[in-house]
Symmetry: D2
Subunit: 302 residues, 4 copies
């Protein structure tokens, strides 16, 4: 996610500086791709990544998930379902309120750090877990990142002479304090789901289909439809990608009657949402939300 | 919800026709209010409304939920959690794919209608449950609406001479077929959560706070900040409403450090999302989404 | 449950004192009845009872459930599913360990009492919630009992001059402290599910079927099969009651092949469990477990 | 589990034949060990075993779990929580009724076999998945066993000339039909959780503690306390094992008051359950239940 965001960042900056020499399609913000890259993928891979690296038992474990965006929601749901006691940290009161309603205690990391068994970061922010927290953790605490490249855990603060690093297994380091306390760091703070888990082929299929459709559209588009700018995948194509993947689940869509379509003021065949409708960019991926999903200055074709 | 939507509809039409004589604030689309009006409220009231009217047992019951928007998601989550076997119907492939990933079979109503115990509509559409479905339901099937005013179940088709209506209890009618089959209709197809359940005071507090803040803003605003147009509640106020309600849950927000705020490119005190960021308008409330959440022509103040 | 237990108690005492003039069948300990009387019924009625009496919102509420037997397990599962943060108190380390593995923090009531929103008792014990706890509860805390007749909450300690009782609604009393603090007491400490909720007809059907089968058996039994003693419902009849109720769920049983039956050393048509196999009597219903489920001195017919 | 059961089997047979030369302690039937060997372990390892071998995505997958005993309950709970649509097969109507109430459709394997994505066996029976089922499965269906040694899937029927076996990866074989259809067989039908997952150290600790306590008791027991027979671990020791493991979860037990202990008719320090109280032997592990948990002829010391 971190990487994708940066690329998109540059794309929009080039565009703003009118230094884009060709039309570009931002496929990353399509709903289908977003949901699978974040909520669903993370819900599946958080458990997998932790098991493969540490064989930890989830039942009864106390876990802090930092950030309750789509990624955090996925991690919390999976961990809670397997019997973990999950706490959430948030900076955005709206996301915090959602965490409360979903049954998670919202606390500051410093309040829970002493008695927890695992910390999972998914904020998109930097230094969310700092040395002051790592010093307070109990022996054997597992620390991993599901969020933003490798900035969320302050690794620099751990690369000091008084702490001993022991590489116990691929993707697993023990960081040993002078008093013998060991913290279990996974993937050196890089994305757990990319480093220690796997991405289901179904998700790759969604990504590939989205990208292929975008290229086909750019290739087939009549002269002048696209200028040297960044475009969003048309809603209709987003829905098309989703519909192509429903067969896997033997899912049967309901068709609108003419009467119903008229009542809803849309076409029977979609799009069922307006073009600008996008997956929620959830806190605190705010930089990204701020700079990129400013719909008002985005272009669509019809 | 139906009512609110229509009012908003008219508001925007007046605005487009420049026949609005005063500035107006659309408080209904603030995230906090949306989430509580839809996802969370419905998750709580679907069980309550069904129990109070029918004393039905949820365990093992086969239920079809029509529509997997925020309302449908709330109903499905609650029913599944209490042991019901839930099927979903959808017209939008994106929402359908979400239902699949959340563990619900997506079918057409006609495919499951013969063996189900309850039908819950939450589509925002009309005549989702028609006479052709009602004729196929088994004896004792419960039919109710959580979605759009009273249009989702085709009541007209039930007001015919060959069907006998028996009012068994407030909000509960038995519709009796010539062969003696009885369908249990709740609240004559009006909103179950408004007719047969209650709205928690916490939700009323969120609504009232949002409205009060909007009025205060309009009253205190400097000359010329607002023209005769429709405005959205500023994101910062939305976040403020949420933060005021966190105390109920003894939730403690994390504060961004100066360094983190700078990294995210936002203020330490929010807004943590851009103004145009709104709660997902989920399918098939498309009419509404189409006509109203067109962010590009909305105005904000800063 | 409390009442049933006492009756059974007396029955076994009469039997031990050989003062039973007729054969008796203890239908209450059949698995099917037990599961529905405890786990499943309570899972459904805890939410219903609380909503009907207080219209409370479950999302984000902090709840303490006292006792993690079948009743407690049902209450915890339902409350957690609706978004409550649930804590468990237990005296039995085995039940406590189960609560931990199921994702609940196990604490003493005194540790959590100050910040909780609801207390639900299901221990089968007496004075589990005492005046010392009630004094520490915060304003508006809801107190109810799902466990044992009306002994679990120390009501006597509340019937004192300095506390004011206000009957706000059927089954709901406010107990007002001198400083104005109000505790919401439901059903004056009697069973919430019997006083403030309803029992699904499906459950009554299971009970009635079990009792009817027992009577038929006693009536048809050949001379001398039953002495003046207490007998348990034969396993096969218990299974028969269950099988009669599977149709409601359109459930299809698998039949053992001759080969499989031989391999398992049982009849193709059951019983699939030995007679002495009974539903878990879970802590701390220990008195009852102690005195009644002592299988070794029970009689069966074959 | 299969292995343990057979050993215990022999032990009781030796005892019955009075050919046991020393006292023996059956540690396997202690509640704590049973729950962790079955319900909790399987709940954690079913997902892990499937992910490590196949990287399968759980969301939306249709799975049949054969057998709804403790093992089946654990598998179903985990799979449902991760978004799978789970069907259950059962021979015992009581377990089937529980599956229904827990929200699972109870079907015959032959009814669902054509459209499912995975089959998990946990019956303790033999040939639950036969060639007639394997022939009907769709391409890519995953077949694995969580139940009884390696008897549940009829492997013999797959070792025929017309089917090609392809070993794609450790513990993963593709069985290829003449038409090219591939079935994914895990661990050649042996226990998935032992072959393809790991056992948490916490569980090993429970097992080791139980065994150690049993040996200490046998060693320290006064002359004559134990004859040449099979004994069950005293309830009090079972509770002691559990209490030793509560610290891991920072769980705090509640202590009975003298008054409460008197009311319950037990000691403040346990045992809180009678000796004969044992973990539910759930269907269809009936052979075992039948032959071994016949409490009436078991001996305890006090």
């Amino acid at each position: 996610r971190g990487g994708k965001r940066r690329q998109r960042e540059e794309l929009y900056q080039l565009s703003k500086a009118s230094r884009l020499c060709v039309p570009a399609m931002n496929v990353n913000d399509s709903v289908t791709k977003q949901k699978f890259d974040n909520l669903y993928c993370c819900k599946e891979s958080i458990l997998d990544g932790l098991k493969r690296t540490t064989d930890v038992m989830f039942g009864g474990k106390q876990v802090v998930v930092c950030g309750y965006g789509e990624v955090g929601k996925g991690c919390c749901a999976a961990l809670k379902a397997l019997g973990a006691v999950v706490y959430v940290t948030e900076v955005d009161p709206i996301c915090a309120l959602q965490a409360c309603m979903d049954g998670f205690r919202v606390t500051k990391l410093s309040e829970t750090i002493r008695h927890i068994d695992m910390v999972v970061t998914c904020t998109g922010n930097k230094n969310v877990v700092g040395r002051e927290h790592l010093d307070k953790m109990k022996n054997g605490c597992i620390v991993c990142n599901m969020g933003h490249s490798n900035t969320e855990i302050d690794l620099a603060s751990l690369r000091t002479t008084e702490l001993k690093w022991e590489h116990v297994r691929p993707q697993v380091d023990h960081i040993i304090w002078p008093d013998g306390k060991r913290i279990v760091l996974l993937a050196e703070g890089r994305l757990l789901n990319l480093s220690c888990s796997t991405v289901p082929s179904f998700v790759l299929s969604i990504t590939a289909t989205t990208q292929a459709l975008a290229l086909i559209e750019l290739f087939n588009a009549p002269e002048g439809r696209y200028k040297q700018d960044v475009y969003l995948l048309p809603k209709k194509m987003d829905e098309y990608v989703a519909s192509l993947h429903l067969a896997t689940f033997d899912a049967h869509l309901t068709e609108l009657t003419d009467d119903q379509a008229k009542y809803l003021g849309i076409s029977k065949h979609g799009p069922f949402k307006p073009n600008y409708y996008r997956c929620r960019q959830t806190s605190p991926h705010t930089q990204n939300a701020h700079k990129h999903t400013d719909v008002s200055n985005r272009k669509y074709f019809f």
